[in-house]
Symmetry: C2
Subunit: 148 residues, 2 copies
DNA sequence: CACATATAGTACCGTGTCGCACCAAATGGA
DNA sequence: TCCATTTGGTGCGACACGGTACTATATGTG
């Protein structure tokens, strides 16, 4: 087990798996009943990237099977957080638009997380997070590119 | 957005969520058909910590609801990778034991990951991972303790 | 234009996740 | 000891995930 041992990937991924689970719990505690992290991810994506995206566009962005995206969008539609309309530029396709309620749910979740993160920041050195963020971003991009 | 902005949590958790998804795909590509990451996690736990653990012990270790653990163990039992027997020390409880097939599946998965990680290590600076691992471990422990 | 192929989306189904209700066994206080 | 409470495990139901198969539309090649 020398310095260049690639097994460090195993340990990093293990920690990341646990942190993902814990951070998901923090997020979901701030979402209305029945909404979970993937729903929020879509609302956030539509806000940041602009709505009117197609389901396939988002499935690719999240690297999810298109059936999963169909399902997630259906749930958001049931909750009236998005509206789905035909794509005028492609008869096979649809476009997903945020409703005002959708924008509000996202904003409320983020607002609720503010105090949570502030509380965490009191017990954990935020500078360390800022320091590792570029490596995480590199790693994410690298794995993304390495996925065949 | 100054240097101590706790919003860095948001970005770190977002990257971690994506990396978790990509690394899970790498692992699951090395598992036999029908087995997914949580199944492997249990096999690995029983190998590392020693088998004979109870379902509740593992549910707590993974911070999962006990119903999820029951379900995961049932699946491993169907695949004959673990054997569940009564706990002689507690009539309410059971103990989960690895079968030889269970040990083999875990060993095979890890053996398969070796080349994967080695390939990744050729394109990504492993030293950077080694550098961030302690911070990730700290963060995991901190979030674990902070969860009420 | 005709037609083979590629692409967007969905229906269906098996499986995973997890809350609730329940039972059985253990525990602890009077 | 008796009994209330706690704890380990499971059945069930609602919903999430994702593979296969299918339809409809678009695209590219002759």
């Amino acid at each position: 087990m020398h310095d260049r041992d690639p097994a460090v990937f195993f340990d990093v991924f293990k920690e990341i798996g646990i942190i993902e689970q814990l951070s998901r719990a923090i997020l979901e505690a701030r979402l209305p009943d029945g909404l979970i992290a993937p729903h929020f991810a879509v609302l956030n994506h539509l806000t940041v990237r602009g709505d009117g995206r197609t389901p396939m566009e988002m499935a690719r962005a999240f690297q999810l099977p298109k059936t999963s995206m169909t399902h997630t969008i259906k749930a958001l539609e049931r909750h009236m957080l998005v509206a789905v309309r035909a794509n005028p530029e492609d008869g096979r396709s649809k476009c997903v638009w945020l409703t005002q309620a959708g924008r509000d749910v996202r904003a409320q979740a983020i607002a609720g997380l503010g105090p949570d993160f502030a509380a965490l920041a009191q017990g954990f050195d935020v500078e360390q997070l800022r320091a590792i963020l570029p490596v995480l971003t590199d790693l994410r991009q690298f794995l993304d590119a390495a996925r065949d």
